[in-house]
Amino acid sequence: MAEIKSFVYINRKAPHGTIYALESLEVVLIGAAFDQQVKLIFMDDGVYQLTKNQDPEGIGMKNFSKTYAALGDYDITEIYIDQESLEQRGLSIDDLQELVYEDEDDDWKEKSSMRLVSREQLASVIDSADVLLNF
């Protein structure tokens, strides 16, 4: 397993209504241990996974949305957000939690992992992946 592959996780489902968002995050975190190149895409209803202030106590579920903040610690620093999906849903990037990482090549400065992109840019991320995981 010396080969390094590019893994792209595409998150398209809202959280809580189905378990896909939670179980996808479990794969991403486990996958981070494998030293592959990892990119995450949040698009369609997947953008709701990153909304601030989620509080699922009233529906009896746990608030796993806080776990996304740990992605930077797992060296996951490329997170693509589909602009069109946000717009359709009346959301802006400010409605999402900010995901950051510390750049070891730049004196451990804290930098944003989030990239607001167009469909065209997403298409090239997808077309450059070795492995696509869709949730």
Partner: protein
Amino acid sequence: MATLHTVNKSPFERNSLDTCLSLCNNSGSILLIEDAVVGALRNTSVSERLVKAIESGVKIFALGEDLKARGLPEDRVIEKITLVDYTGFVKLATENDRVQSWL
């Protein structure tokens, strides 16, 4: 003879809200639950359809617990959509004559 319609899927992903709107007459009520509550926000690609339904007399509700779970602020909800809790959901089911779940 009023009908309560429930919708539980995101209107950005599925056609069930649209079908519901096409079959809900102006004595009816629609309750958005689970992932469907994302449709309750203002300025989305579906909000105009909901506003039109409200203007035609349809009453629209959304489950507050589901909105809160998804981090969607109450003050961004379309005016005249009423938030209810589970007890309010039960009450809506009793006040209408039947319940139609658009699964």
